[in-house]
């Protein structure tokens, strides 16, 4: 019997669509490639590959002012480059923004060059008072909608952080 369980990427795409996301702007991270490819091939979304993560912040913020739901998808390193754009655009004007990123540098990530993300990603989020939700278990993918809606209530950005175990399967 073939396994009919939707892939993690498909579940994430379904959850994004269910809360009205149409535009998805992304930069790659190896952990996110299934998600990006799934969204790219899904007619429910307009997928825009961007040149740098800050461009995704600008695009999604403009889409909000045009009443279009959106999400910015990026790796942890990319997120670390967007603090200026987030604080300037989304905090100054109180424009909601929904981000999805990888929790690099945590347990299970064997890449030494992500040590800095492991050390500083969460402290940076705390430093700019930006709420985040870590999703480590497929059963928690439904939290994506909850977090998206929170950005609209809160009128500021929020990020969902995906672990390696969620996106690539449990690893030693």
């Amino acid at each position: 019997m073939p396994d009919k369980t939707p892939t993690i990427a498909a579940q994430i795409a379904d959850e994004l669509s269910s809360c009205g996301v149409k535009l998805v702007a992304s930069l790659p991270d190896n952990w996110l490639m299934d998600v990006i490819e799934t969204i790219r091939g899904d007619q429910r979304f307009v997928h825009v590959p961007v040149n740098r993560e800050e461009s995704a912040i600008g695009l999604c913020s403009g889409a909000y002012m045009g009443a279009m739901g959106s999400a910015a998808l990026m790796g942890a390193s990319g997120f670390m480059t967007v603090v200026y754009a987030l604080t300037k655009i989304n905090y100054t004007y109180e424009i909601p923004l929904f981000l999805l990123a990888t929790l690099r540098g945590a347990g299970g990530d064997h890449h030494k060059h992500h040590i800095s993300n492991g050390l500083y990603l969460l402290p940076v989020l705390d430093a700019i008072s930006m709420p985040y939700q870590i999703i480590d278990d497929p059963d928690d993918i439904g939290l994506i909608s909850r977090c998206y809606h929170h950005t609209r209530t809160f009128s500021r950005p929020m990020v969902v952080l995906f672990t390696r175990d969620l996106l690539r399967g449990r690893h030693q």
């Binding site: 535009l23 695009l59 403009g62 045009g66 009443a67 754009a85």
Partner: protein
């Protein structure tokens, strides 16, 4: 051409376009030329992102015609934005690159490689096709109907070669609004024009 003469000329040609300005002098100049605070969004708090913001809006609302201003100081920080703009190729977006060869908002500090930067060539290199360059108000006035023509395919990129603000112009008033006030003034205008719901989000 003089910066303010250029902006006054563009303002005279405006009909129903939605305008996004950038960090730097373009917000001061547009506010001085128009005093518009409902159909213009002064995205002062961003370097290099005004046209990305405008692209998101243009993508979301194809019936809007959108003009986005950006200084060449901001452009130098993120020229790859043109790759995204070209990929989107939105026919309702015009990107005005205001080239004064300085960081106008920071005492006219010089740009890197200021004498050699050829913005139209950079745009051509990224595959843009509707590209205009203007060095005089007379040329801008003459050709404006062509660049603003309706029903043209693809995104439009316009290089405006202007003189930096002089000492008096540097003191032009900034749009006197805080960020959230601007958001609501602009958003309410869009809601009324489009009949859409931006702020009434309900779960």
């Amino acid at each position: 051409m003089k910066y303010m003469d250029c902006f006054r000329a563009i303002a005279r040609h405006r009909t129903n376009e939605i305008v996004i300005t950038s960090a730097g002098n373009s917000g001061q100049a547009w506010w001085s030329a128009t005093r518009d605070s409902v159909a213009s969004f002064y995205l002062d708090a961003s370097m290099s992102l005004s046209t990305m913001f405008a692209s998101g809006l243009a993508l979301a609302q194809p019936e809007l015609k959108i003009w986005a201003f950006m200084g060449d100081g901001a452009f130098c920080m993120n020229p790859g934005m043109l790759m995204v703009e070209r990929e989107l190729n939105l026919p309702n977006l015009t990107h005005f690159l205001v080239s004064n060869r300085v960081y106008g908002a920071t005492s006219n500090a010089a740009l890197p490689n200021l004498e050699n930067n050829d913005y139209a060539a950079i745009a051509r290199g990224m595959g843009l096709q509707r590209i205009f360059e203007f060095r005089s108000v007379e040329d801008l006035e003459r050709d404006f109907p062509r660049l603003a023509a309706a029903n043209t395919p693809g995104h439009t990129f316009v290089v405006l070669e202007v003189e930096p603000f002089d000492a008096t112009e540097q003191k032009l008033e900034q749009p006197p609004f805080n960020g959230t006030e601007l958001k609501y003034r602009f958003g309410r205008h869009l809601e009324s024009v489009l009949g859409c719901d931006i702020f009434g989000y309900r779960v």
